[in-house]
Symmetry: C2
Subunit: 540 residues, 2 copies
Amino acid sequence: MTTIAQYLLSRLHDLGVDHIFGVPGDYVLRFFGEISKSPIRHIGTTREDTAAFAADGYARSKGAGALVVTYGVGALNVVNAVAGAYAESSPVIVISGAPGVREQREDPLIHHRFGPFSFQREIFERITCSAVALDDPLIAFRQIDRTLSTMREACKPVYIELPRDIVTRKGYPIPSGQDAPLQSDPETLEEAVAETQALLGDAASPVVIAGVEVHRQGQQDALINFISHSHLPVAATLTGKSVFAERHPAYLGIYEGAMSSEYARYMVEQSDLLLMLGVTLNDVDLGIYTARLDPRRMVRAAQGEVVIRHHRYPHIRLADFLAALTARISPRVALPDIPALPEAEGFPASSRPMTVERLMQRLNTALTPDMVVVSDTGDCLFAAIELRVHEKAEFLASAFYTTMGFAVPAALGAQIARPDRRALILVGDGAFQMTGCELSTFSRLGLAPIVVVFNNKGYSTERFILDGPFNDIASWRYYRIGELFGPLAGYRAATEEEFETALLSALKQTDQPSVIEVILARDDASPAMRRLAEHLRAKL
Amino acid sequence: MTTIAQYLLSRLHDLGVDHIFGVPGDYVLRFFGEISKSPIRHIGTTREDTAAFAADGYARSKGAGALVVTYGVGALNVVNAVAGAYAESSPVIVISGAPGVREQREDPLIHHRFGPFSFQREIFERITCSAVALDDPLIAFRQIDRTLSTMREACKPVYIELPRDIVTRKGYPIPSGQDAPLQSDPETLEEAVAETQALLGDAASPVVIAGVEVHRQGQQDALINFISHSHLPVAATLTGKSVFAERHPAYLGIYEGAMSSEYARYMVEQSDLLLMLGVTLNDVDLGIYTARLDPRRMVRAAQGEVVIRHHRYPHIRLADFLAALTARISPRVALPDIPALPEAEGFPASSRPMTVERLMQRLNTALTPDMVVVSDTGDCLFAAIELRVHEKAEFLASAFYTTMGFAVPAALGAQIARPDRRALILVGDGAFQMTGCELSTFSRLGLAPIVVVFNNKGYSTERFILDGPFNDIASWRYYRIGELFGPLAGYRAATEEEFETALLSALKQTDQPSVIEVILARDDASPAMRRLAEHLRAKL
């Protein structure tokens, strides 16, 4: 006999979910008991929202991530993190305990309740692509199958509610009427590829822009292959950062309107044909609408269609378009001269105060192929435009949803998903105060991320829009956090020399987390932030 | 000319809201600018959910509390705390920024967006008694008036969404068609009071049980007055703890089914007439349904009605019922002998390890009339059943919704609302890991709560239901948190002598927070928890 909990856990395991993040509570405790008996390992976090961010980081690294929380007080704590996973297309499975079906029947006033029992599911319907309550053992297996299949198809979070008296009930297999995955329409595909090929042939300075869907649909290798065939130069969007190997000779950098480097901006905006692969036209990637892109010079494959100038070819999968185009493309003669990696000259200059710009340049040379860079929201994200991660490495951020507090817990998930990699975490002081204590879980598990805290004593991005005392935050000694829990090594770096010493020591420290608190001037900012500032002010 | 922001802020100020908690973000930044120019002071917190808990603590102490957050990433972070305020009937005003009305019109992909723009309001409709978006300047003043009036009437949270291009728009006064407040029906009231009076006259051992509505409807003084006239003994529910002066000679203690003290349980369950004032019949107050109460011996005034045995008198306000009954009642001859306050004999016994039971007994003698006790969820809450706060002091907890992480931030709100009081915070180690860093804001403001951290290395309540490694948490040195931010004094107390020293020192320390980490055995528990344990296990 297979119980509903066993079936759910085995289906998760099939998806590559070997770890599940979360916090127990009485309505979900029986399911925790079942997890203990399964091959899936529970990773306890300090809070529920950090469990959800960890599951998001895990999902981006492994194709699916899961979290488990109790009813009400647990589930309602993850709404923001799950909405973020939705906005960012990360396949996260939320499992929430609930009062038993029989308990619910008499409409009792039981603890953790905040309204009709259906309200929690109704809230999650608005932030997931499928939300089900497993309140009928006869159909529970089928509900699990469909929900997980919807998740894979849409690459978005799902919600599964598990009343506590259902957990160990026997379930019933239902013949799998597997829904066929979406296919491209062959004739539409043929026509779109032919038109694109002709346009590329006529263009004098075509450029590829690669977006986040390339990652979500597993097309990174296909993209590298396409570029090897075509010899086209490639820029990436910020939300798609690292979808194309950033040290590849064809890589131009991040294009993001006014936030781009001058070179990337010139190359993209002078181009007479932009081939946009997996690019979503959101405000972040358009540099808060400072991008100057002409739809008449665009071919865009994304969201299941190809759009050329003002006409649309529906029902085309990105993978099929990329494969067909690669098969047809003729290589261009030569790549343009790509400027060298931005590096920090003469670093460290002994008593020179640290700046964001030099910090990122120094990190560029410190990056190794086994590092995953996880950035929080704020100037660390804009500054990361200048960072070039290695091939096969990854850059993770909440770059479109831009929630603060993402980086530390998401890095936990990313590291557990891929134990061969080491996390470099970039986080502002404000964001660190939100979820930085999740480092305690790294310490507990013997993981060794390097955390760079940008301490400019407040919400720096907002200062550039409208300043006031509301942008100042409490002063913390971030580098002393190892006194609260550990083992954890802490460093404080006000000058380049101090940073150099701290960084070299942290790189050697591979059995515990290292926190490097970088002291920055209140008005220091990355070049990208400075370029963006006036546009943000105008939007206020 | 009055702008919409000015009107909203002045209406809040009229309600006694002198402080507003929250975290800025670009969609709400213009409103933050307006707050700076108003008499209301912004209190920045480390996270948004702690701002909501603080507003809840403020509201319970002052009649209304407010928080301000940005769209998406801010608002969706407060869903749990606001649902808690709803479940606990705390009048909290959530103000969320949003993209401008004109920005929203073209349905753009802008940062912090997670779905249709209406979804955020739809989520808040499920956890507030009124949710409005101020997207039309012509009616905004009226929307503000109605929403705040609904909040006062229902004593529940409300949600106000403020698109950023509306903030400084001129608003239009609308003649106030003030909805008349609900009144009791005089004839129904007369009949209900007469029947109650007759039943009380015939009863041999009547007992009053006082519940949370007595607090929410401001009837504490009326209750004291009623008891002075009637000489009836009074028990309180856990969610209503401190609604009746706990050191009053008529006070029996908390009645909560199997969790009650033996004496309180005996007195309530042997009574031949229970007069339940403002009591909600939820599972916590019924001791997870271990209460033995006979409806045939009950008169219950709550939720706008009076229920006697099996018949109901609708449309009766608690205040009117209590006033009418007080006017009619004849005093009983004598009160029963009330047992003495549970105190710790021979405390401190030098090297005796600390236990929850002796800890609470010691705190009973340390409590002063200027203290507000704020308890988190877990065994500290059950243990607090034995605590007796002074008259006019208060006990705050998430006693029905039972969310963890409530105490530290709620105490922040309570202290700011009533600067003449000092907070004593009781918090488990698990809950402290969730929101304990909000102490940083106390330090920043020079507030001096005493925080007792119950360190038993995990989720103790759950261990009593089903134990497993999932109930263990990371080991923190809570007493060292002053290394991360401060000023803050920390103490570690494994023995009674160490606790005594720490407590005396903390009581003297009135310009900074004190954290006393109490080391407890893994299997130690309050007497109430032990009495409840088997019932919780049966429910799993």
